[in-house]
Amino acid sequence: MAGRALDRAVRAAYHRRMRATVNGDAMDLPDGLTISALLEHLRIRPERVTVERNGAVIRKARHAEERLSSGDVVEIVTFVGGG
Protein backbone atom coordinates (compact mmCIF):
# COMPACT_ATOMS: atom_id res chain seq x y z
CA MET A 1 0.00 0.00 0.00
CA ALA A 2 2.74 2.40 1.04
CA GLY A 3 4.50 1.65 -2.21
CA ARG A 4 1.44 2.45 -4.25
CA ALA A 5 0.81 5.72 -2.35
CA LEU A 6 4.39 6.76 -2.97
CA ASP A 7 4.03 5.90 -6.63
CA ARG A 8 0.91 8.07 -6.85
CA ALA A 9 2.68 10.94 -5.10
CA VAL A 10 5.62 10.72 -7.50
CA ARG A 11 3.30 10.72 -10.48
CA ALA A 12 1.32 13.66 -9.14
CA ALA A 13 4.55 15.58 -8.60
CA TYR A 14 5.68 14.73 -12.10
CA HIS A 15 2.51 16.01 -13.65
CA ARG A 16 2.32 19.18 -11.56
CA ARG A 17 2.69 22.24 -13.75
CA MET A 18 3.98 25.73 -13.12
CA ARG A 19 4.02 29.06 -14.94
CA ALA A 20 7.34 30.74 -15.67
CA THR A 21 8.33 33.52 -18.03
CA VAL A 22 11.07 32.64 -20.49
CA ASN A 23 12.46 35.37 -22.73
CA GLY A 24 9.30 37.38 -22.20
CA ASP A 25 6.90 34.51 -22.99
CA ALA A 26 4.69 32.98 -20.30
CA MET A 27 5.22 29.20 -20.40
CA ASP A 28 3.46 26.27 -18.84
CA LEU A 29 6.21 23.90 -17.68
CA PRO A 30 6.57 20.80 -15.51
CA ASP A 31 7.06 21.87 -11.90
CA GLY A 32 10.59 21.78 -10.50
CA LEU A 33 12.26 21.65 -13.91
CA THR A 34 16.04 22.05 -13.70
CA ILE A 35 17.80 24.57 -15.98
CA SER A 36 19.34 21.67 -17.91
CA ALA A 37 15.89 20.12 -18.40
CA LEU A 38 14.45 23.46 -19.47
CA LEU A 39 17.11 23.85 -22.17
CA GLU A 40 16.50 20.30 -23.31
CA HIS A 41 12.74 20.95 -23.33
CA LEU A 42 13.32 24.00 -25.55
CA ARG A 43 15.87 22.12 -27.70
CA ILE A 44 18.64 24.60 -26.94
CA ARG A 45 22.30 23.59 -26.96
CA PRO A 46 23.63 24.69 -23.55
CA GLU A 47 27.10 25.66 -24.78
CA ARG A 48 25.65 28.50 -26.86
CA VAL A 49 23.70 30.26 -24.13
CA THR A 50 23.73 31.77 -20.68
CA VAL A 51 20.72 31.54 -18.40
CA GLU A 52 19.61 34.15 -15.92
CA ARG A 53 16.87 33.54 -13.36
CA ASN A 54 15.19 36.47 -11.61
CA GLY A 55 18.10 38.73 -12.54
CA ALA A 56 20.93 36.45 -11.42
CA VAL A 57 23.20 34.46 -13.74
CA ILE A 58 23.05 30.68 -13.25
CA ARG A 59 26.54 29.28 -13.74
CA LYS A 60 26.72 26.45 -16.26
CA ALA A 61 28.07 24.12 -13.60
CA ARG A 62 24.81 24.57 -11.67
CA HIS A 63 22.40 23.93 -14.55
CA ALA A 64 21.70 20.35 -13.50
CA GLU A 65 20.86 21.33 -9.92
CA GLU A 66 19.04 24.64 -10.09
CA ARG A 67 15.27 24.16 -10.27
CA LEU A 68 12.69 26.59 -11.51
CA SER A 69 9.78 27.69 -9.35
CA SER A 70 6.43 29.06 -10.33
CA GLY A 71 6.63 32.75 -11.22
CA ASP A 72 10.33 32.68 -12.11
CA VAL A 73 11.50 35.04 -14.82
CA VAL A 74 14.12 33.40 -17.02
CA GLU A 75 16.29 34.99 -19.67
CA ILE A 76 18.24 32.82 -22.11
CA VAL A 77 20.82 34.89 -23.99
CA THR A 78 23.45 34.45 -26.63
CA PHE A 79 25.97 36.54 -28.58
CA VAL A 80 24.69 38.33 -31.68
CA GLY A 81 26.31 40.78 -34.07
CA GLY A 82 26.92 44.21 -32.59
CA GLY A 83 29.26 47.16 -32.57
Binding site: T50, V57, T78, F79
Partner: protein, 260 residues
Protein backbone atom coordinates in the same frame (compact mmCIF):
# COMPACT_ATOMS: atom_id res chain seq x y z
CA UNK B 1 57.24 45.90 -32.46
CA UNK B 2 54.54 48.55 -32.14
CA UNK B 3 51.99 46.75 -29.99
CA UNK B 4 48.83 47.80 -28.26
CA UNK B 5 48.65 46.32 -24.77
CA UNK B 6 45.08 46.30 -23.59
CA UNK B 7 43.47 44.46 -20.72
CA UNK B 8 46.05 41.71 -20.63
CA UNK B 9 46.13 41.21 -24.42
CA UNK B 10 48.76 42.32 -26.92
CA UNK B 11 47.56 43.47 -30.31
CA UNK B 12 49.49 44.35 -33.45
CA UNK B 13 46.29 45.57 -35.13
CA UNK B 14 44.86 48.88 -33.95
CA UNK B 15 41.53 48.47 -35.68
CA UNK B 16 38.75 46.89 -33.63
CA UNK B 17 35.65 46.05 -35.63
CA UNK B 18 32.02 45.33 -34.89
CA UNK B 19 29.95 42.38 -36.08
CA UNK B 20 26.59 44.15 -36.41
CA UNK B 21 24.41 44.90 -39.42
CA UNK B 22 26.10 42.74 -42.06
CA UNK B 23 23.85 41.42 -44.79
CA UNK B 24 25.03 37.88 -44.06
CA UNK B 25 27.63 35.96 -42.08
CA UNK B 26 29.96 35.13 -45.03
CA UNK B 27 30.30 38.85 -45.85
CA UNK B 28 30.95 39.60 -42.20
CA UNK B 29 33.67 36.98 -41.98
CA UNK B 30 35.36 38.22 -45.17
CA UNK B 31 35.27 41.81 -43.85
CA UNK B 32 36.65 40.80 -40.46
CA UNK B 33 39.55 39.04 -42.18
CA UNK B 34 40.15 41.98 -44.56
CA UNK B 35 40.27 44.39 -41.61
CA UNK B 36 43.05 42.34 -39.94
CA UNK B 37 41.32 43.10 -36.65
CA UNK B 38 42.35 41.00 -33.68
CA UNK B 39 39.39 41.97 -31.52
CA UNK B 40 35.71 42.13 -32.47
CA UNK B 41 32.68 43.42 -30.60
CA UNK B 42 29.57 41.32 -30.05
CA UNK B 43 26.22 42.06 -28.41
CA UNK B 44 24.28 40.02 -25.85
CA UNK B 45 20.64 39.36 -26.72
CA UNK B 46 17.78 37.01 -25.96
CA UNK B 47 18.01 33.76 -27.89
CA UNK B 48 15.19 33.53 -30.43
CA UNK B 49 13.30 30.50 -29.10
CA UNK B 50 11.37 30.16 -32.36
CA UNK B 51 14.43 30.01 -34.64
CA UNK B 52 15.54 26.42 -35.12
CA UNK B 53 19.02 25.49 -36.30
CA UNK B 54 19.93 29.15 -36.56
CA UNK B 55 23.58 29.71 -37.45
CA UNK B 56 25.69 30.87 -34.55
CA UNK B 57 27.54 34.17 -34.84
CA UNK B 58 30.60 32.71 -33.13
CA UNK B 59 30.90 30.08 -35.86
CA UNK B 60 31.60 32.92 -38.32
CA UNK B 61 34.15 34.83 -36.26
CA UNK B 62 37.64 33.81 -37.40
CA UNK B 63 39.57 31.80 -34.84
CA UNK B 64 41.91 33.72 -32.59
CA UNK B 65 39.94 36.97 -32.60
CA UNK B 66 39.36 38.28 -29.08
CA UNK B 67 35.68 38.83 -28.28
CA UNK B 68 34.68 42.17 -26.82
CA UNK B 69 31.08 41.88 -25.59
CA UNK B 70 29.24 45.19 -25.47
CA UNK B 71 26.36 46.56 -23.45
CA UNK B 72 24.71 48.19 -26.45
CA UNK B 73 21.08 49.01 -25.90
CA UNK B 74 21.52 49.64 -22.16
CA UNK B 75 20.22 52.92 -20.77
CA UNK B 76 20.97 52.31 -17.09
CA UNK B 77 24.05 51.26 -15.13
CA UNK B 78 22.14 48.30 -13.68
CA UNK B 79 21.23 46.91 -17.10
CA UNK B 80 24.80 47.33 -18.32
CA UNK B 81 26.24 45.49 -15.31
CA UNK B 82 23.67 42.72 -15.73
CA UNK B 83 24.62 42.37 -19.41
CA UNK B 84 28.32 42.13 -18.59
CA UNK B 85 27.68 39.38 -16.04
CA UNK B 86 25.79 37.41 -18.69
CA UNK B 87 28.57 38.01 -21.21
CA UNK B 88 31.21 36.74 -18.79
CA UNK B 89 29.33 33.48 -18.32
CA UNK B 90 28.68 33.20 -22.09
CA UNK B 91 32.34 33.56 -22.92
CA UNK B 92 33.59 31.19 -20.26
CA UNK B 93 36.66 33.31 -20.75
CA UNK B 94 39.39 34.37 -18.40
CA UNK B 95 39.00 35.71 -14.90
CA UNK B 96 39.13 39.32 -16.04
CA UNK B 97 37.08 39.55 -19.22
CA UNK B 98 37.12 42.61 -21.43
CA UNK B 99 33.82 44.39 -21.89
CA UNK B 100 32.81 47.41 -23.92
CA UNK B 101 30.68 49.45 -21.56
CA UNK B 102 28.07 51.52 -23.32
CA UNK B 103 25.28 53.25 -21.39
CA UNK B 104 23.26 55.49 -23.64
CA UNK B 105 21.13 58.48 -22.78
CA UNK B 106 18.47 58.46 -25.47
CA UNK B 107 17.65 56.51 -28.64
CA UNK B 108 17.84 59.49 -30.97
CA UNK B 109 21.35 60.81 -30.31
CA UNK B 110 22.72 57.56 -28.84
CA UNK B 111 25.06 59.78 -26.85
CA UNK B 112 26.59 58.27 -23.71
CA UNK B 113 25.07 58.93 -20.30
CA UNK B 114 28.20 60.03 -18.42
CA UNK B 115 26.72 59.54 -14.94
CA UNK B 116 25.37 56.02 -15.52
CA UNK B 117 28.50 55.01 -17.44
CA UNK B 118 30.72 55.99 -14.51
CA UNK B 119 28.46 54.22 -12.03
CA UNK B 120 28.53 51.01 -14.09
CA UNK B 121 32.29 51.30 -14.64
CA UNK B 122 32.98 51.43 -10.89
CA UNK B 123 30.79 48.38 -10.25
CA UNK B 124 32.30 46.36 -13.10
CA UNK B 125 35.89 47.19 -12.11
CA UNK B 126 35.07 46.02 -8.56
CA UNK B 127 33.84 42.71 -10.04
CA UNK B 128 37.09 42.16 -11.94
CA UNK B 129 36.04 43.19 -15.43
CA UNK B 130 38.47 45.02 -17.68
CA UNK B 131 36.26 47.88 -18.72
CA UNK B 132 36.51 49.75 -22.02
CA UNK B 133 33.93 52.53 -21.70
CA UNK B 134 32.31 54.39 -24.57
CA UNK B 135 32.26 58.04 -23.52
CA UNK B 136 31.64 61.56 -24.74
CA UNK B 137 34.65 63.48 -26.06
CA UNK B 138 34.81 65.14 -22.65
CA UNK B 139 38.25 65.22 -20.99
CA UNK B 140 36.65 65.36 -17.52
CA UNK B 141 34.47 62.30 -18.12
CA UNK B 142 37.49 60.48 -19.57
CA UNK B 143 39.61 61.29 -16.51
CA UNK B 144 36.90 60.10 -14.12
CA UNK B 145 36.57 56.81 -16.01
CA UNK B 146 40.33 56.34 -15.92
CA UNK B 147 40.37 57.11 -12.19
CA UNK B 148 37.62 54.51 -11.72
CA UNK B 149 40.05 51.88 -13.01
CA UNK B 150 38.95 51.46 -16.63
CA UNK B 151 41.47 49.72 -18.91
CA UNK B 152 40.98 52.33 -21.64
CA UNK B 153 38.72 55.23 -22.52
CA UNK B 154 36.75 55.27 -25.75
CA UNK B 155 35.57 58.75 -26.70
CA UNK B 156 33.27 59.15 -29.66
CA UNK B 157 34.37 60.91 -32.82
CA UNK B 158 30.70 61.62 -33.61
CA UNK B 159 27.39 59.90 -32.77
CA UNK B 160 27.17 56.12 -33.34
CA UNK B 161 26.55 55.26 -36.97
CA UNK B 162 26.62 58.92 -38.07
CA UNK B 163 29.77 58.63 -40.20
CA UNK B 164 30.56 62.27 -39.47
CA UNK B 165 34.20 61.60 -38.65
CA UNK B 166 36.15 63.28 -35.87
CA UNK B 167 34.05 66.35 -34.95
CA UNK B 168 36.18 67.73 -32.15
CA UNK B 169 39.88 66.99 -32.58
CA UNK B 170 40.79 69.51 -29.88
CA UNK B 171 38.77 67.71 -27.21
CA UNK B 172 40.38 64.46 -28.29
CA UNK B 173 43.83 66.05 -28.00
CA UNK B 174 43.05 67.12 -24.44
CA UNK B 175 41.96 63.57 -23.58
CA UNK B 176 45.14 62.20 -25.18
CA UNK B 177 47.33 64.64 -23.31
CA UNK B 178 46.12 63.48 -19.91
CA UNK B 179 45.22 59.82 -20.37
CA UNK B 180 47.58 57.17 -19.05
CA UNK B 181 45.41 54.36 -20.43
CA UNK B 182 44.88 53.68 -24.15
CA UNK B 183 42.47 56.06 -25.88
CA UNK B 184 40.29 54.40 -28.51
CA UNK B 185 38.01 56.38 -30.80
CA UNK B 186 34.69 54.56 -30.79
CA UNK B 187 31.91 55.70 -33.11
CA UNK B 188 31.68 58.33 -35.79
CA UNK B 189 34.20 57.07 -38.32
CA UNK B 190 32.69 57.28 -41.81
CA UNK B 191 35.48 56.43 -44.21
CA UNK B 192 39.16 55.52 -44.37
CA UNK B 193 40.52 59.07 -44.06
CA UNK B 194 38.69 59.44 -40.71
CA UNK B 195 40.75 56.50 -39.44
CA UNK B 196 43.98 58.18 -40.53
CA UNK B 197 42.99 61.53 -38.98
CA UNK B 198 42.31 59.92 -35.61
CA UNK B 199 45.43 57.76 -35.64
CA UNK B 200 47.63 60.71 -36.62
CA UNK B 201 46.54 62.47 -33.44
CA UNK B 202 47.95 59.58 -31.42
CA UNK B 203 44.95 57.52 -30.41
CA UNK B 204 45.81 53.92 -29.57
CA UNK B 205 43.11 52.28 -31.66
CA UNK B 206 39.79 52.67 -33.44
CA UNK B 207 36.50 50.86 -33.12
CA UNK B 208 34.43 50.74 -36.32
CA UNK B 209 31.24 48.93 -37.25
CA UNK B 210 28.66 50.73 -39.40
CA UNK B 211 31.23 52.39 -41.68
CA UNK B 212 32.36 48.91 -42.74
CA UNK B 213 29.16 46.85 -42.59
CA UNK B 214 27.14 49.63 -44.24
CA UNK B 215 29.60 50.34 -47.08
CA UNK B 216 28.65 49.31 -50.61
CA UNK B 217 31.52 46.85 -50.49
CA UNK B 218 32.20 46.03 -46.83
CA UNK B 219 35.22 43.84 -47.57
CA UNK B 220 36.97 46.58 -49.58
CA UNK B 221 36.14 49.18 -46.93
CA UNK B 222 37.53 46.91 -44.21
CA UNK B 223 40.82 46.74 -46.10
CA UNK B 224 40.82 50.49 -46.75
CA UNK B 225 40.37 51.12 -43.03
CA UNK B 226 43.09 48.65 -42.11
CA UNK B 227 45.51 50.51 -44.40
CA UNK B 228 44.39 53.96 -43.22
CA UNK B 229 44.72 52.95 -39.57
CA UNK B 230 48.23 51.68 -40.22
CA UNK B 231 49.13 54.77 -42.26
CA UNK B 232 47.81 57.09 -39.56
CA UNK B 233 49.70 55.24 -36.86
CA UNK B 234 52.94 55.39 -38.87
CA UNK B 235 52.49 59.10 -39.50
CA UNK B 236 51.93 59.69 -35.79
CA UNK B 237 55.11 57.80 -34.90
CA UNK B 238 57.03 59.55 -37.69
CA UNK B 239 56.13 62.97 -36.28
CA UNK B 240 54.53 65.44 -38.64
CA UNK B 241 55.96 68.86 -39.54
CA UNK B 242 54.49 71.88 -37.79
CA UNK B 243 51.77 73.79 -39.62
CA UNK B 244 52.90 77.17 -40.95
CA UNK B 245 50.98 79.96 -42.58
CA UNK B 246 53.54 80.78 -45.31
CA UNK B 247 55.46 78.74 -47.81
CA UNK B 248 58.84 77.14 -47.18
CA UNK B 249 60.73 76.14 -50.33
CA UNK B 250 61.72 72.51 -50.75
CA UNK B 251 64.50 73.31 -53.24
CA UNK B 252 67.55 75.54 -52.63
CA UNK B 253 66.85 79.20 -53.28
CA UNK B 254 70.50 79.83 -54.21
CA UNK B 255 72.00 79.01 -57.61
CA UNK B 256 68.81 79.63 -59.53
CA UNK B 257 69.68 80.20 -63.24
CA UNK B 258 69.64 83.73 -64.50
CA UNK B 259 70.23 84.99 -60.99
CA UNK B 260 72.50 87.84 -60.00
Amino acid sequence: MDELVLGGHRFTSRLVVGTGKYKDFPTMKAALLASSAQMVTVAVRRLDLQARGEASLLHWIPEGMVLLPNTAGCFTADDAVRTCRLARELELGGENPLVKLEVLSDPKTLLPDAEETLKAARQLVSEGFRVLPYTNDDPVAARKLEDAGCAAVMPLGAPIGSGLGLRNPHALQMILEHAKVPVIVDAGVGTASDCAVCMELGVSALLVNTAISGAQDPVAMARAMKLATEAGRLAFLAGRIPRKLYGTASSPLSGVIGGA
